[in-house]
């Protein structure tokens, strides 16, 4: 086609300016077809309508830390509702002046979570660290030693309560869920039926009905004169609820086990317990780590429902703050703050779960 001396000159031929750089990127990603161009332009127009007013409401016309009186005359957001009430929103009834304790317990939890993120640290020692960490956190919260004032569990509220309900909900529900999953796979008809009925029943009803049960029905189940703490009852309801969902996730893991694993275990002469404990569960549970994190995530979001039975989780403390006449008018700001708080926690969990899924997947 061309003379043999052309190849060197080809190196100097740059692609047209519309194909590279900003313009090229725009062309391939935003304006590649006529309807994409139309979509891009109309979306941009809508964004222009929405974003600038929101921006000036949230950042330009807003106030950040003033008494509520200063909020009456401004057009923007009154973020002051958060810093002015921050200790009650985050820590609820925890006594004033002692709030460094739940604060540092939360930081400790955060540290442990970050440490556990790295799958290189998944060893026996990790369990020991968690156990120590939990004891330290418990001591920080409850007090009674090193001159710390005793703080009853009834006063644990706000963010620590939210974390506690979801974390213990998950930890305690896991063994129960595994047992239920094994029961559902069992060859014993009575056990299987019991487990299936339990799992399907719990999964069929909303969490709110279980919370109602714990708060207004459960006291009737106990003998006269015996009462169980309100928070503990809600905790049990969350555990029972979460266990049914974990059971289904674990069942997925069990079903993913190749038949050969069972047969190999049988041929080694292992009994049921040994087969499950040594062969099946370690592999099955590894597969289901990412979906289990998904359940932890929804348990975390679902704890916000305890607001309906008057437990002081972080949503309830916010709502109580908003019942104060001074701050009633600024619920939007408070809800946005909470939404951001929840989003940070949930997003961290979900993106971690996705990352884990990828690394575990390539491992197999």
């Amino acid at each position: 086609m061309s003379a043999p001396n052309t190849p060197p000159s080809r190196e100097y031929l740059k692609p047209p300016v519309t194909e590279v750089g900003v313009l090229g990127w725009l062309r391939t990603n935003l304006f590649n077809t006529w309807y994409n161009s139309l979509l891009t332009v109309s979306v941009m127009l809508i964004l222009l309508q929405v974003v600038p007013p929101f921006f000036s409401w949230a950042f330009i016309d807003s106030v950040w830390n003033t008494p509520s009186e200063a909020c009456r005359d401004i057009d923007g957001a009154c973020w002051s509702v958060i810093p002015q009430n921050i200790s009650f929103i985050l820590f609820g009834f925890f006594p004033d002046g002692e709030q460094w304790r739940p604060g540092s317990a939360m930081l400790l939890l955060l540290g442990l979570v970050f440490y556990s993120k790295n799958s290189k640290h998944w060893k026996k020692s990790l369990g020991v660290y968690w156990l120590i960490g939990l004891v330290v956190m418990g001591t920080l919260m409850y007090g009674g030693v090193f001159g710390m004032q005793v703080v009853e569990t009834a006063q644990w509220s706000g963010l620590p309560l939210t974390f506690m309900l979801s974390f213990f909900g998950m930890v305690a529900a896991y063994p129960l869920g595994v047992v239920l999953a094994l029961g559902r796979q069992s060859r014993m008809p009575a056990i299987k039926t019991l487990c299936v009925v339990y799992i399907e029943m719990i999964r069929g009803v909303p969490l709110i009905s279980l919370l109602f049960m714990s708060s207004i029905m459960f006291p009737l189940f106990l003998p006269e004169g015996v009462t169980i703490d309100k928070v503990l009852r809600a905790q049990v309801a969350i555990i029972l609820f979460t266990a049914a969902y974990i059971a289904e996730v674990v069942r997925g893991g069990l079903q993913a086990m190749p038949r050969g694993q069972f047969e190999a275990a049988d041929s080694l002469g292992l009994n049921y317990n040994q087969t499950m404990r040594l062969i099946i569960l370690p592999q099955a549970l590894k597969i289901v780590i990412p979906p289990s994190l998904g359940i932890l995530l929804s348990a975390f979001k679902d704890t916000s429902l305890v607001v309906i039975i008057a437990l002081y989780d972080v949503l309830k403390t916010t709502k109580v703050t908003l019942s104060n006449p001074k701050w009633t008018a600024y619920s939007t700001e408070a809800y946005i703050f909470l939404a951001v708080l929840y989003f940070i926690c949930c997003y961290a969990m979900s993106s971690y779960s996705r990352k884990l899924e990828k690394t575990l997947h390539t491992g197999r």
Binding site: N29, L39, E200, G204, P206, L220, F221, S331, Y335, Y347
Partner: protein, 399 residues
């Protein structure tokens, strides 16, 4: 098993030769009986405690309260209801309200979820990123918080009835909701409904016939389009024959509120929007995964055999994608129905909210909670039964 292998005969291996506690079959029976006994004992213990507690606190038991007068009003209802009706009527109103919001919610969620899921896969960077942002934000904020948010937006940003927005003739938008005119009730409306049903039936028959003909001759019959046309033409014919009544029931501001027309309340809208926006984020991910599960080769192969794009979608992509989509979609639809119980927090009179008021007035918590569980279980079970049937059908079509 320390036995001399030399004397291991067939009779030795019979179950009777194994000690009872080592026999898996017998052990299983003992184990099951023990488990059942345990469950029965615990139930009996709780039951007897409950009995004595109820007696001591002189709380009435049984469902006798259902016949008593409820004595409270309900904001919105699909059927006629007033405070003079019984608790059973009130609960029915609540159940219908739950069904209403769930049904409309499911339909809108599937539509929005599909749109966002497809947008997530769009080649347009802006659209794709917006969809991704939407999915992340919605999935990671508790739905209860979102409901509070939507409700606040509804009643705060719309004007009062006297300053109601009136974008079209007969349509009003204010903080009492969306109010719009509907045709005045006329005898022909029933006939039109029947005409529509008849169109669907004819369409079904045509579809069967078309398939048979296609199997025999290879000619394709556009059954869907014909059915759609029939569905419009037949009711229209009925309407014209009845003298085309055009009288409208236009809402009018009288006293405090609009009378006439149909009102969509802010509570209903907030609940609907909250549930739809939240659940659609999950549905979008499901749809995306479903579409991505169909390998590129399938599409190329379909085009290679000469199918048109519509046919590629209809005959190749959808049947395979739906098989991946349907099971998780089912559980999301059930989640939406269950989450509709959060209505109580923003004042929509769903089943839980009505039951809650009933419990409060009668003190009969056990019956109330049992009713809530029963009704949601029946929703869940009927949905799963339907979906199982549908799944089986899809699976058969595929193989």
């Amino acid at each position: 098993m320390k036995k001399d292998p030399s004397i291991a005969t067939d009779t030795e291996l019979l179950p009777s030769a194994v000690p009872a506690w080592r026999d898996p079959a017998k052990r299983a029976i003992v184990f099951q009986v023990a488990a059942l006994l345990l469950v029965a004992a615990v139930s009996y213990y709780l039951y007897s405690n409950t009995q004595s507690n109820l007696e001591r606190q002189s709380i009435a038991t049984g469902f006798g309260f259902l016949d008593m007068e409820a004595g409270f009003e309900i904001g919105e209802s699909v059927v006629e209801y007033s405070a003079a009706d019984s608790y059973a009527d009130a609960l029915l109103v609540g159940a219908l309200n739950t069904i209403k919001v769930s049904f409309i919610g499911v339909i809108l969620t599937i539509i929005l979820g599909t749109v966002v899921g497809v947008a997530r896969l769009s080649s347009n960077w802006l659209i794709s990123k917006l969809a991704a942002g939407y999915i992340e934000v919605m999935q990671n904020i508790p739905v209860l918080l979102q409901l509070f948010f939507w409700y606040a937006i509804f009643y705060e940003s719309f004007p009062s009835p006297r300053q109601a927005l009136n974008p079209f003739e007969g349509v009003f938008l204010c903080n009492r909701g969306l109010i719009f005119g509907v045709p005045e009730s006329h005898a022909v409306h029933g006939t039109m409904a029947w005409a529509f049903v008849a169109a669907l039936a004819i369409g079904w028959l045509l579809n069967r016939w078309g398939r048979r003909r296609q199997a025999e001759t290879g000619q394709i019959f556009p059954a869907v389009r014909v059915t759609l046309a029939l569905g419009i033409v037949l009711p229209l014919l009925a309407w014209v024959f009845a003298g085309s009544p055009t009288a409208m029931d236009i809402p009018e501001l009288r006293g405090f509120n609009f009378t006439g027309g149909v009102t969509v309340s802010p509570e209903f809208s907030a609940l609907l929007l909250g549930l739809v926006f939240y659940t659609a984020a999950f549905v979008a991910e499901i749809v995306r995964a479903g579409i991505q599960s169909v390998s590129r080769g399938q599409v190329e192969a379909a085009m290679a055999v000469g199918l048109r794009p519509g046919q590629v979608l209809h005959l190749v992509i959808l049947p395979q994608a739906l098989r991946v989509i349907i099971p998780p979609l089912t559980s999301q639809m059930l989640n939406l129905t269950k989450n509709s119980s959060l209505a109580i927090a923003i004042g929509y009179a769903d089943f839980v909210a009505v039951t809650n008021t009933t419990i409060n007035q009668t003190g009969q918590a056990i019956e109330g909670v049992a009713l809530i569980m029963l009704i949601y279980l029946s929703f869940s079970l009927s949905t799963s039964l339907f979906m199982n049937w549908y799944n089986k059908k899809m699976a058969l079509v595929e193989r």
